[in-house]
């Protein structure tokens, strides 16, 4: 970058980019360059987005679909955090555990969450279990990796100080490694939240009886493209809100820890 931009300039440029995209979209769809069903106009999509809060589609309103998605999502993310963070910390502390788990983990983590869909449906059903497993598959690796790295890179002096004070394993994990790696853990949870949200909606395209992804599949089947795009907007906005909320939480936590 040739020069630093002020905060307002950055926001201005961002708004400009977004407006151009919407303008281009409006131009292509509005002047009939492509058929409506290929690309509905922005007005049609926004209208549909608002309507969906009142009119049920595929059995539920948009907010009901959203809350159904969010519920699964929270369970899956929580499960990933509750298993991934302690396991990651423990792997960072106990060398043997690290040696046993790392090869398994490295072998599995490059399998995209969506690739688990058939087994998720088979093992846990298409109701609540299957989708939870998919989001778990997406959210687990960053939780584990960041907790592990956080624990491995704790300042050695602090670990030595804790050891000379006679700190046992359990207290070492809970009172030293966890707080010391909290910034890394929080960053991991934020990445996990993003990946989890992406994989959940993907999973709902296939398994689910309600949810934003499910709504989009139903709409696609009846070629209701404005509904599909309204679903995309709902996913985008929700994802953004989750990320903003977690960033705020991370900032508060760092402040509390005196990290900045």
């Amino acid at each position: 970058m040739d020069r630093r931009l002020s905060h307002s300039e950055t926001i201005g440029l961002g708004a400009l980019g977004l407006m151009s995209l919407i303008g281009l979209w409006a131009a292509i769809s509005g002047f009939g360059l492509v058929p409506d069903q290929f690309l509905p106009t922005p007005i049609a999509v926004i209208g549909r987005f608002i309507d969906l809060f009142r009119e049920p589609f595929a059995g539920f309103t948009l907010q009901q679909h959203l809350s159904s998605s969010l519920m699964r999502y929270l369970y899956g993310l929580l499960l990933a955090a509750v298993i991934g963070i302690p396991l990651g910390l423990a792997m960072g502390w106990f060398r043997t555990l690290d040696d046993v788990v790392t090869p398994i983990f490295e072998g599995l983590r490059f399998i995209a969450p969506i690739a688990w869909v058939p087994f998720a449906a088979l093992w846990f059903g298409t109701g609540i279990g299957g989708p939870i497993m998919i989001i778990f598959a997406g959210a687990f690796p960053p939780c584990l990796i960041n907790a592990y790295r956080g624990a491995r890179f704790v300042e050695p002096r602090l670990i030595e100080a804790a050891r000379m004070l006679g700190t046992g394993h359990r207290r070492m994990l809970m009172e030293i490694l966890l707080p010391a790696s909290l910034p890394s853990v929080m960053a991991g949870v934020r990445v996990a939240a993003g990946l989890g949200w992406q994989s959940l909606v993907g999973a709902e395209l296939i398994v689910a009886s309600a949810g934003v992804g499910f709504m989009m599949v139903q709409a696609q089947a009846s070629v209701q493209t404005p509904t599909v795009m309204a679903g995309m907007i709902a996913i985008g906005i929700t994802g953004l809100l989750i990320d903003v909320a977690l960033r705020q939480g991370e900032g508060l936590l760092r402040h509390r820890l005196g990290a900045d």
Partner: protein, 262 residues
């Protein structure tokens, strides 16, 4: 029985071609309640000596024992004060001091009492609920010393504890440590590269050679201090002006310089 005993200690780091000989045949006995300082050129292995006693590293050959027991791993009977304080930033002053006591499974009331005592001893009463980053470097090091003292350790291991402090704070802390040694004498192993600090604080000084570190000379400070009554003076600068102090300091300086140029 010596409080700390180094018996024919050799220490190597690394393997094969990269093997580095850090300590060569260290034999040293530190008496109970004795304050022994190790001085030496940088990289001579003086901190390694302390880490062997702390149990952070193990001797390659020979043995290190504390109160007659060979050192196997770190423990609260050998409390360490680090140069960079190493306080837990997420714990308050009280929380930092309390951890070692909790690890010893001491009851709540006894812990409260001991924490209150040590806070008073270190003039930290008003900072009990502060976090380390809210304190100056000197105050943080007081907390670290309190955290070590409260455990009532067999020996106190201090690794250049004032090295990270500014000159004025350093002097205050040195005087503080002398006061502390009078009120609550301990066996102290003190690592420093500052000769004046060593002469001012220690009963005995071990001068080390360049790598591989050997003990070149042991200087008795205590008999001079007692004979010349250094304790008459409150302030460090008054002691440093005494001929007996200057004489000792210069002798150790010469000895060290031979190492640096040699």
């Amino acid at each position: 029985m010596a409080a700390i005993r180094f018996d024919k200690v050799q220490k190597y780091f690394g393997r094969g071609d990269k093997r580095m000989h850090a300590l060569s045949n260290i034999n040293l006995e530190i008496e109970d309640r004795e304050f022994l300082a190790i001085v030496g050129p940088s990289g001579c292995g003086k901190t390694t000596c302390l880490r062997l006693v702390a149990g952070f590293d193990a001797a390659s050959e020979g043995s290190v024992s504390v109160a007659g027991k060979p050192v196997m791993k770190p423990g609260p009977d050998r409390a360490v004060v680090f140069q960079q304080f190493a306080l837990f930033p997420w714990k308050t002053v009280r929380g930092n001091i309390d951890l070692g006591l909790r690890n010893k499974a001491i009851g709540f009331e006894e812990r409260e009492k001991r924490i209150a005592d040590v806070l008073k001893l270190m003039n930290l009463e008003t900072y009990a609920d502060a976090f380390p980053h809210q304190l100056s470097g000197g105050m943080q090091q007081r907390v670290a010393i309190a955290r070590a003292y409260v455990l009532d350790p067999e020996v106190l291991l201090m690794d250049e504890p004032f090295g990270a402090l500014d000159a004025q704070t350093r002097v205050v802390m040195q005087e503080e440590l002398v006061r502390l040694a009078r009120v609550q004498p301990r066996t102290v192993l003190f690592i420093t590269h500052a000769v004046e600090e060593a002469v001012y604080l220690a009963d005995r000084i071990a001068v080390m050679t360049r790598r591989p570190g050997r003990i070149k000379e042991l200087v008795d400070v205590k008999s001079v201090r007692d004979a010349e009554k250094w304790n008459r003076f409150e302030r460090i600068e008054d002691v440093m002006d005494l001929d007996s102090f200057v004489h000792l300091r210069t002798g150790i300086w010469r000895s060290l310089r031979e190492e640096k140029n040699g």
